[in-house]
């Protein structure tokens, strides 16, 4: 079986270290939290939207392997009272940029963004 053209084969990253999935999850949620208009990751209320990286829990991000060998990223967020469509667009680009910076862009599939809650906040 050959890997999809232009897509790196999925291999365990480093023995004992974080997997590619964990690295992408960490980069994605860190990007989201750094974006103006995002308040925090939302774990869905019952913890279902979270990724465990070692002893750390990252609420608001779920990364799943796709058949193509890439990973889809789902971000679940609480946002400020700002236009959400443009915020999602900026965020998607920023995630792609930051995943590229850690050398895993080839593995990045769709970045789906769900706004689960909003909060009134004027300053970060």
């Amino acid at each position: 079986m050959t890997a999809e053209k232009g897509v790196a084969p999925t291999t365990p990253s480093r023995v004992g270290g974080p997997t590619d999935r964990m690295l992408i999850a960490g980069a994605a949620i860190a990007t989201a939290l750094g974006e103006a208009g995002v308040v925090r990751g939302h774990d869905g209320g019952d913890g279902r939207y979270a990724t465990i990286v070692g002893s750390e829990r990252l609420p608001g991000v779920v990364v799943a392997a796709l058949k193509s060998g890439r990973y889809s990223v789902d971000l679940y967020l609480t946002a400020e009272l700002v236009p959400l469509g443009p915020l999602a667009g900026r965020l998607r680009e920023a995630v792609r940029r930051n995943v590229r910076a850690i050398g895993l862009e080839e593995l990045l599939g769709p970045v789906d963004i769900t706004f689960l809650a909003i909060e009134e906040r004027t300053t970060r």
């Binding site: 959400l84 999602a88 963004i113």
Partner: protein
């Protein structure tokens, strides 16, 4: 007996369907790079906040909702900003029902119209959804003296 069929008030929606909607607002709805979804609770909260911004609105919700809301908020549950607001959200449109208490002396038609305008402006601006209708029910009036606790008469002189 045939079950009654409720007609959706927004295109692309069915009663009891998904509680999330995909939105545009300048960003593509769906592309190979991903999709954007907005939960119904976000639309509800934006509408509630927008209604409370209008001068002359004292509170939202019916008597029972306000009484229960007071209890649930006191124990850290519930959110007064969603009280009295219900939404029906489709793929690109939203319909909103709202129950409000208006300050005595304000013009109910004017306040209702301002509520409608502000909700449309806020919901469309923030979520990118088109608001098809805003139905306002005024279920009570608030008088300035309503907030004061009744003076307690001493039972003995």
């Amino acid at each position: 007996m045939e079950a009654s069929q409720e007609t959706p008030r927004t295109s692309g929606s069915t009663p009891g369907s998904s509680q999330r909607t995909r939105t545009g607002n300048g960003a593509p709805l769906e592309s190979e790079r991903g999709t954007t979804s907005i939960d119904d609770t976000v639309v509800t909260k934006v509408a509630g906040i927008a209604a409370r911004e209008v001068r002359g609105v004292y509170d939202l919700g019916g008597g029972t909702a306000r009484a229960l809301g007071g209890v649930t908020q006191a124990v850290g549950l519930g959110d007064e900003r969603t009280q009295g607001v219900s939404v029906e959200v489709g793929e690109r449109e939203a319909a909103i029902d709202l129950t409000a208490v208006i300050e005595y002396g304000e013009s109910i038609p004017q306040v209702s119209e301002q509520i409608r305008d502000n909700i449309v402006k806020r919901v469309e601006g923030i979520t990118g959804l088109s608001v098809t209708e805003v139905n306002v029910t005024v279920n009570d009036l608030h008088f300035p003296g309503d907030d004061r606790p009744p003076a307690e008469e001493p039972r003995v002189s």
